[in-house]
Amino acid sequence: MITLNRACRRARGCQQLLIAHRRLSQSALDRLAQPVQSYISTSRDPYLNLSVEHYLLQKSAPESTILLLYVNRPSIVIGRNQNPWLEVNLALLNPSQQSQPETESPGLGNVDLVRRRSGGGTVFHDEGNVNWTVICPPKAFTRDKHAEMVVRALRSCGVERSRVNERHDIVLDQGERIADVDLDNTHITPYTRHAGLPEIRPLKVSGSAYKLTRQRALHHGTCLLSSPNLNIIPDYLHSPAKPHITARGVESVSSPVGNILLSNEHFIDAVRSKFSGKYRSPEGTEHIEVGEDWLDHEPVRQGYEELKSREWTFLQTPQFTISTSADPSCTTDVELTVRNGAISGGHLRHRGGAVIVELNAHSIGQRVHNITSWPETLSQMFTGVDCAEGRRLGAWFERMLPVQART
């Protein structure tokens, strides 16, 4: 499947070495031009899966429609423009490197933190969750279209409580059967409660996000089938820093979630079937496996490296401010402004005191994710902070903006 190529043609205009690089086979490249394509990933690596998805978005023929299905090992995926310190309990992510005695890891081991390229909120992925992506031409795109397709797939598996809600997510209606409805309507089920009945919140099983370019529209969503981790997900998605951070950017809207209780295979078959039915290809649709060998292809690898990089994960954060002032247990008011993931300003004031100490200029540009010791960093940021206070403040910041393990 992989062929050696001759010297890199992109050398023109670039100061690049002539490297012999492998690339996708010609058949794989030709496939990108077909009107209907269906892929499934054999990898559990979220960075790879998202890179493949991005590659398909950029390189597939503009008129084609593509389905991609993938499953990730336990990871937390934040939206393009979200704030990881606000959305995620970072201290739980890499338990082996944590020195905090009070954060007891729920036992999931390492959980990856990934920033995806589409908008929307934060989600938890694990092997009980199947992700689906549809890439199509913009003129065929609506926000509901493929969510409706997935609901039809679910209903064909017997999940009659599933429907698309007004936020383009997929939910399971709870409670007793209410009325007979048009079963072709994917926005209502016989269990949908109307005004006049006591409300029972539906359970969210799939969230949607989109990326729109001039030529292509990408819609991807999760699908909670049989996650064993439902009860600990809230711990991961609840950040202790949240009350203390003021930020711009999209905040997650949290909803109660539930498992559909379907096997991955059953769901995958159903989605493929609905997809093939909707986008008929004269020769029938072959479901192509995508694996780690795609990393040998330069554009995929570049995207992969970017997604894995801590720069992408942390420095793409919109500006935010973190402050101790809302925490009554602190005796000092410290405020730090962070722009592009790096300290851009701040000040400190002892409560009850009048003196305001400004952030030292040499600390500007300090990348938050590179901080290895908060007490040390704080004493560099502000002059006149004594040891005890530095330790207390250091501990507070350590809880809020946990030190990131070196990868």
Binding site: G13, P138, E311
Partner: protein
């Protein structure tokens, strides 16, 4: 300040590369001899879903950068969607109106571009000062609801590894251009990208169109003129210069218009949906003819309207929701009141304009009674003798425009009612009977508008169908009469 972080190493490098490649092509020199040198703000288009602002994530250009049509300008994010915005023109970036992380407002300027291509009227609308904001910037709307096939642009590593699209789009050029460089001496030099797009849309070969612009350039008007002439579907649309005999007049609103303005402005809050239903009124007309033969005087003759009013009232016994009243003065606590009385407002066209007097308690009236009241009301209206007691308290309105015309109409609901019925003029149409023979039927279209905050489509449809059945077989009405 720390090092500046390139937001996306991969993407920016290749875009820059592409721009450099394209800049070196002599084709561009054709533009420099004739450019408009206007700097205009390009507005952030509406990306749908009622979103009024979105966050600016990153810029792909800086002031001074040359852009071509379709080059990426920036990426914005709104709730769940991250969207790439591309330039609709060739030109030079003059000013960025937002910093990354700022909230950009739809309809307001996003970036100032020194436009260096000919711009069409459509493009004018995307700029500030080009008129209404509705038309602003299809660059983004073109992403969510694309206008049509554009030139297929190749992104990424100089197009080496990209598959050529195998899928042909009707109306697109037979050979998609790989890069602009190959188009320098061919017909693409005779027109701007906007005009070339227009020729594709109108399925016209650009070589067939005579250009009246500079250097024989084909302009948008030339394409339209060509289409008009070749299809000969429209007469040449050159309206002769009208002598401005009529002068604009400023006129105050009449009392009826003032009231209409107030009422209809309030009705703007109501999300209307329309359900139309063609009803076979042949039986009804036959029945009326029979009854009217024995009418004692010409003005005792029965028209359709009393029957319709009664049928609606009978249907409302089964569908009381449409006769209800919504009190939304407190937006936190909307109150819905089911009304027992069927007080129907009947819209009448009078010399002073539209008036809606009310017939009260239709549920207790016979068809004859209804007809009598209607007659009274229209006499009073004609003589301008309608009293305040004739108005007000309507729970439902019927608007009959049939004496003038009309097929499907889209009536506007008056607060606090939740529905309205509009009726046009009946006409004879061909249809098939049960034996499959072609027969003439008299068809009347009923247009129901309802408030979608209260009434759903199915409920309105069921009520409409019930009214239809009652009128198609008037005997059924007798069975339900109280």
């Amino acid at each position: 300040m720390g090092t500046i972080v390139p937001r996306s190493l991969y993407l920016t490098a290749s875009t820059r590369l592409q721009t450099q490649l394209l800049q070196s092509i002599p084709y561009r020199s054709l533009h420099t001899t004739h450019h408009l040198n206007i700097v205009k703000p390009f507005l952030l288009a509406d990306i749908g879903e009622g979103i009024t602002e979105c966050q600016l994530i990153q810029w792909f250009v800086q002031p001074g950068a040359r852009v071509e049509q379709f080059d990426k300008l920036c990426e914005v994010q709104s709730d769940k969607a991250s969207v790439e915005i591309t330039s609709p023109f060739d030109g030079v970036i003059k000013k960025l109106h937002y910093d990354p992380d700022d909230m950009a407002i739809t309809g307001k300027p996003l970036v100032d571009i020194d436009i260096q291509s000919e711009i069409t009227e459509e493009d004018e609308a995307k700029l500030a000062g080009g008129g209404d904001e509705e038309g602003a910037g299809s660059a983004v709307r073109g992403v969510e609801e694309s206008i049509g096939e554009r030139e297929i642009r190749v992104e990424g590593a100089a197009g080496v590894d990209v598959a050529e699209p195998a899928v042909k789009n009707p109306g697109s050029q037979p050979q998609p251009e790989r890069r602009r460089s190959s188009g320098k001496q061919d017909h693409s030099s005779l027109a701007t990208p906007a005009v070339r797009h227009l020729t594709k849309e109108m399925k016209v070969a650009i070589t067939d169109v005579r250009g009246t612009g500079k250097d024989g350039r084909v302009l948008k008007e030339d394409v339209h003129r060509h289409v008009a002439q070749s299809t000969q579907q429209q007469p040449t649309v050159h309206t002769p210069m009208q002598k401005a005999r009529e002068v604009n007049r400023k006129v105050p609103l009449t009392p009826v218009q003032t009231q209409m303005l107030k009422m209809m402005t309030r009705s703007l809050n109501i999300p209307h949906f329309l359900y139309t239903c063609a009803t076979d009124v042949s039986s009804l007309t036959a029945l009326r003819k029979t009854l009217n033969i024995s009418a004692s005087s010409p003005d005792q003759r029965l028209t359709q309207l009393p029957f319709i009013l009664k049928a609606v009232s009978l249907a409302f016994q089964h569908h009381p929701l449409l006769n209800s009243s919504l009190d939304s003065t407190d937006p936190a606590k909307p109150q819905l009141m089911y009304k027992s009385a069927h007080n129907f407002g009947v819209a009448i066209d009078t010399p002073s304009g539209l008036l809606v007097p009310v017939i009260r308690n239709v549920q207790d009236l016979s068809i004859g009674d209804i007809a009598a009241q209607l007659r009274q009301l229209s006499e009073k209206a004609r003589d301008n003798k309608l009293a305040p007691s004739d108005f007000g308290g309507a729970s439902f309105t019927i608007s009959n425009i049939g004496n003038i015309g009309g097929g499907v109409v889209s009536p506007v609901i008056s607060e606090p009612q939740v529905a309205i019925l509009g009726i046009g003029r009946s006409k004879i149409v061909p249809a098939f009977n049960e034996q499959g023979d072609l027969i003439k039927v008299e068809e009347l279209v009923f247009s129901w508008s309802a408030d979608h905050r209260i009434v759903d489509g199915a409920e309105c449809a069921r009520c409409a169908e019930r009214v239809k059945k009652l009128l198609e077989e008037p005997g059924k009405m007798m069975v339900e009469m109280r």
